[in-house]
Symmetry: C2
């Protein structure tokens, strides 16, 4: 559904693809990795641009929020890449692949995990609730992203979307 179109844009014969990828899906998987890497650096940038907090608890919280807003911002700025990033993503195994990582060497999911660890360290998140918490936070933000770009919430302007996003992150922060 994209292969021939892609080759056309690059100005190359459709069959050339098969010298580099086994499948249409293998090609798509490569794009998916690249997209996740892009997402990772977008998140890293979001965190880097945040005002530094002195209190470690505040800092950890802010970091988590940064990941969430970065995730949502990326989904809205680059809906195509975002869709692709999770369209054909494999299981959790290759979710740790270096090809899916940002400049820090961490994938988006690993960045989230690190933030949650900080939260535990700072005593904000009870240690007992830590295992699997990444999936809870991720679910919430990922779900909103989906609803915003494809689902029934598409068409919300940037400000409204930002607002819902912040409220969602509030909910996660309170509920984790």
């Amino acid at each position: 559904m994209v292969l021939r179109e892609a080759t056309r844009r690059v100005g190359v014969a459709p069959s050339s693809v098969y010298r580099h990828f086994a499948d249409r899906l293998a090609l798509l998987d490569a794009v998916c990795s690249a997209a996740q890497a892009d997402l990772a650096v977008a998140i890293e940038k979001e965190i880097a641009e945040m005002p530094r907090e002195k209190d470690s608890a505040r800092a950890a919280r802010a970091c988590l929020r940064g990941i969430g807003t970065g995730y949502l911002r990326f989904a809205q700025t680059e809906p195509g890449l975002f869709r692709t990033a999770f369209s054909a993503s494999g299981d959790l195994r290759n979710a740790a692949s270096r090809a899916r990582a940002g400049e820090s060497g961490l994938t988006p999911l690993q960045l989230l995990g690190a933030a949650l660890d900080e939260l535990v360290e700072a005593g904000v998140l009870p240690r007992g609730r830590r295992p699997g918490a990444e999936f809870l936070a991720w679910s919430a933000v990922h779900g909103l992203a989906m609803l915003l770009i494809d689902g029934p919430l598409r068409g919300l302007d940037h400000a409204e979307a930002q607002n819902v996003g912040q409220r969602l992150i509030d909910m996660v922060e309170r509920g984790l």
Copy 2:
């Protein structure tokens, strides 16, 4: 991508479709409506089978949980229908269509809205937080459903998925 396959299963010529639907997308949209209706009745059933609570606050809370678990159960029991239900869903306008409703005449989103209203009525959810709350709760559950059936969480067995689901709902309940 499905049209010819569908006609084959029904035992009918591919072109017949165009007597009833304008497009491949129009057909898909009809299936989408049917799938959402199925989801609505699945949720209704989940709620109906719950033990009745006397305390209105407890009842409202239980109702919300029922919607969440019903949603997740449906996604796992009928992943194909679930995917379809939100694959080509239009905007919020036709999300209220009768064709997408269950036996109660309410669509999944409307059921969720009603549950949140009860929560406000029972004094559990502050009135100020009510507007837009359906999208927060929905995001969380929808995101997990996606991760479970297509995303990196696919392959979790039913028990593990159930566990993550309940924890997610805990989070929503606390965080709303």
